[in-house]
């Protein structure tokens, strides 16, 4: 089991840092799955994490100038680690002006992801900073828990309004209620609602557009649907807020799939990064 990667380009370093920062805002611990082509940050919907799950996929070639991986076995050329994204984020934060950052899997006092950065100095010799971040190696028998979640058979898929706008709305609503109802239809309309004994607040968004999920069968339920009919799901407002607050990816596309009364599935796409976030419904 070997892993080594290197980032030289400052743009890539910056981008990678933003992705890691986003992840660190969403969860305290998660799984980092390394494959020859991709990196995945995975959170599987455990009860302890409030049932939310996350799947973030990065294509290694777009971030790393060098990337070498030797998985646990020839027939399973992968490495699965449990990491604390906050630590990764901290390690990356202090090396933003580095000439070069190397990430490698090492065995120190325990298995570690070691970030080694070469920092520029006025002298001829560089300054070198290393961060050893302890990780847990996930044995192969548990890997099945961290497979890519299936695209749910959703009722409505919709493009999201600018996330900043949405964040402002959700931030205000959070002061009034712990739960939020998100509803949308196939006519490009989406509402964010809260209802308490004292007050009902709804924010309406329209002309958002519905993504054309082409022929992959997953949109079976949405095809024969009345475009005006709303699908709605009630979620923990904190989970949604966390998602909106932490994101630093500046997605080129942001969308949401709603399975009526079951789950909302948020997707952010940005060139080489995709982030999916699942928030379960609460009764």
């Amino acid at each position: 089991m070997k892993f080594r990667a290197k980032i030289i380009d400052v743009g890539c370093l910056n981008h990678f840092t933003r992705v890691v920062n986003t992840i660190s805002k969403l969860t305290k611990t998660c799984i980092l799955r390394l494959t020859p082509d991709n990196l995945y940050f995975v959170l599987s919907g455990k009860i302890s994490s409030g049932g939310v799950s996350m799947w973030c996929e990065l294509s290694q070639a777009n971030f790393f100038d060098e990337y070498q991986l030797e998985g646990v076995a020839p027939d399973a050329n992968e490495i699965c680690l449990e990491v604390t994204p906050e630590n990764l984020s901290r390690a990356l934060r202090t090396v933003q002006n580095a000439k070069c950052v190397k990430i490698k899997l090492t065995k120190k006092h325990c298995p570690c992801l070691t970030f080694a950065a070469e920092l520029p100095t006025l002298s001829s010799i560089s300054r070198v900073v290393t961060h050893d971040i302890p990780v847990d190696v996930i044995p192969r028998r548990l890997w099945q828990d961290f497979k890519e979640p299936k695209m749910p058979d959703f009722d409505v898929g919709i493009y999201l309004p600018p996330l900043k706008t949405m964040k402002n709305v959700v931030d205000r609503m959070k002061n009034l209620s712990n739960f939020l109802v998100m509803e949308a239809n196939l006519n490009g309309e989406m509402n964010l609602k809260i209802e308490t004994d004292l007050v009902s607040v709804t924010t309406h968004f329209k002309d958002l557009g519905n993504p054309p999920w082409g022929g992959d069968g997953s949109q079976g339920r949405s095809q024969s649907r009345d475009p005006e009919l709303m699908a709605h799901t009630r979620v923990d407002i904190r989970k949604l807020q966390q998602f909106l607050m932490g994101q630093q990816v500046n997605p080129s596309k942001a969308m949401c799939n709603i399975v009526h009364k079951r789950i909302i599935h948020l997707i952010l796409l940005h060139e080489d990064v995709s982030l999916q976030y699942f928030i379960p419904a609460v009764a």
């Binding site: 089991m1 070997k2 892993f3 080594r4 070498q68 646990v72 604390t84 630590n87 901290r90 390690a91 202090t94 190397k102 490698k104 899997l105 090492t106 065995k107 120190k108 006092h109 325990c110 298995p111 570690c112 080694a116 070469e118 100095t121 006025l122 002298s123 001829s124 010799i125 560089s126 300054r127 070198v128 900073v129 290393t130 961060h131 050893d132 971040i133 302890p134 190696v137 044995p139 192969r140």
Partner: protein, 392 residues
């Protein structure tokens, strides 16, 4: 005492007060012939700071003639006088400090723009002299660096980190975070920064050494040094003897004396870390080495189950360190120490900082005769004495 500070020096004085406030709760003030001394010490007496402003620092300075006068007051009150550093810089033209011994009042008068006067009358208590005993000139290792270098170094460590280990050997300096013996240690992130001697203004290493001290006070001094742009000198010896951080200029002298962890606790910490890491600094050119096989580390998942084998490295380190105790005795002593710590919950922090001022620095007793608390061990008394007399 009667003195006046003008212009940019008001800010220097304010920064000094803020730096001192990172050390202790009380400010010891002593006007002397040679200038005004401001001092502070922390509650466990493991950190001490002294700012000595020479008479030239002031536009007017008169010290009390005759008998020496010393007083102390709550540092928070003095800090309140210089609360907002930014507005201070813009508005205060002159600061007048006057000590009225008869009324027991220390008066700070800030002369601001537009003729505005702000007067703070502070009460004080008489106090003993506060003087740390240290001799930075006898330290075998001296580093001097621009504050920026140390600020950039400290930046890599988390704000919550308490102690940092500084190691020197050959042409390099390492900073790494020091971790207490805790079960969760395996979950803690280790950070290490390697600096080349070129980055220091002065680099004189007499003996390879590795010391551990508190980061908080260093950060405090950095606030001061960075604002004044003055280089910081670090004087140190072996683990257990204090490190002296100093900043000097023609009109002021600053010394921060910090306790360092004594050797046996250092050793213990090292044993829990990887021994390679602790004992010998990693090969300097590790980073430049691009031969993948030389540092990719093969791991088997099955190996990870058991705890790391701590026995072998411990013996190794014991024999390598200049200790008079045979390794076995060392084991026994350490385990006894640990037991004691569990029993004695009243002891302050269970760290092994050896007291700074009292005996550990100056072995020569004659120099200490005027020290009231000559050989007192203040913090976490060195348990060697207890155990040696206690065991059969």
């Amino acid at each position: 005492m009667n003195c006046v500070v003008t212009g940019g020096n008001v800010k220097v004085l304010a920064k000094a007060i803020h730096s001192l406030s990172r050390i202790g709760d009380e400010l010891y003030l002593e006007p002397q012939e040679g200038g005004l001394a401001l001092r502070s010490v922390n509650s466990s007496r493991s950190a001490y700071a002294c700012f000595l402003f020479s008479p030239l620092f002031f536009s007017r300075y008169t010290s009390p003639c005759g008998q020496a006068f010393r007083c102390k007051m709550s540092i928070k009150c003095v800090q309140a006088v210089f609360r907002s550093l930014s507005s201070l810089e813009k508005t205060v033209e002159k600061c007048h400090i006057e000590l009225d011994g008869d009324k027991s009042r220390l008066t700070f008068t800030l002369h601001c723009k537009h003729g505005l006067l702000k007067t703070h009358n502070l009460s004080f208590q008489d106090s003993e002299s506060l003087l740390a005993v240290f001799d930075k000139d006898s330290c075998s290792n001296v580093l001097r660096a621009q504050p920026r270098l140390l600020v950039d170094t400290v930046l890599h460590f988390p704000p919550a980190l308490e102690e940092v280990t500084l190691s020197v050997s050959g042409e390099r300096v390492w900073f790494r975070n020091h971790l207490e013996d805790e079960p969760e240690q395996s979950k803690a992130m280790l950070t290490e920064l390697c600096l080349s001697s070129d980055e220091f203004d002065h680099f004189a290493i007499g003996a390879q050494s590795s010391i551990t001290f508190c980061l908080k006070e260093l950060r405090g001094l950095l606030v001061f040094a960075e604002s004044t742009g003055l280089p910081i000198s670090v004087h140190f010896d072996q683990p257990g003897s204090p490190v002296v951080l100093s900043v000097t200029d023609s009109v002021l002298e600053v010394n921060f004396v910090l306790a360092t962890l004594s050797d046996d606790s250092n050793l213990r910490n090292h044993n829990n870390n990887s021994t390679k890491r602790a004992q010998s600094p990693p090969p300097p050119d590790d980073f430049m080495n691009d031969d993948i096989d030389s540092y990719l580390i093969a791991m088997e998942t099955s190996d990870l189950a058991g705890p790391p084998d701590a026995v072998a490295p411990r013996q190794q380190t014991s024999s390598r360190t200049p200790t008079t105790q045979p390794p076995v005795a060392d084991h026994r002593r350490e385990s006894e120490e640990e037991e004691e710590e569990e029993e004695d919950t009243e002891r302050p922090p269970n760290k092994k900082f050896r007291s700074l001022f009292f005996g550990s620095v100056c072995p020569n007793d004659s120099q200490l005769t005027n020290q009231t608390m000559k050989s007192q061990e203040v913090l976490a008394s060195d348990s060697e004495d207890d155990t040696q007399s206690g065991c059969p």
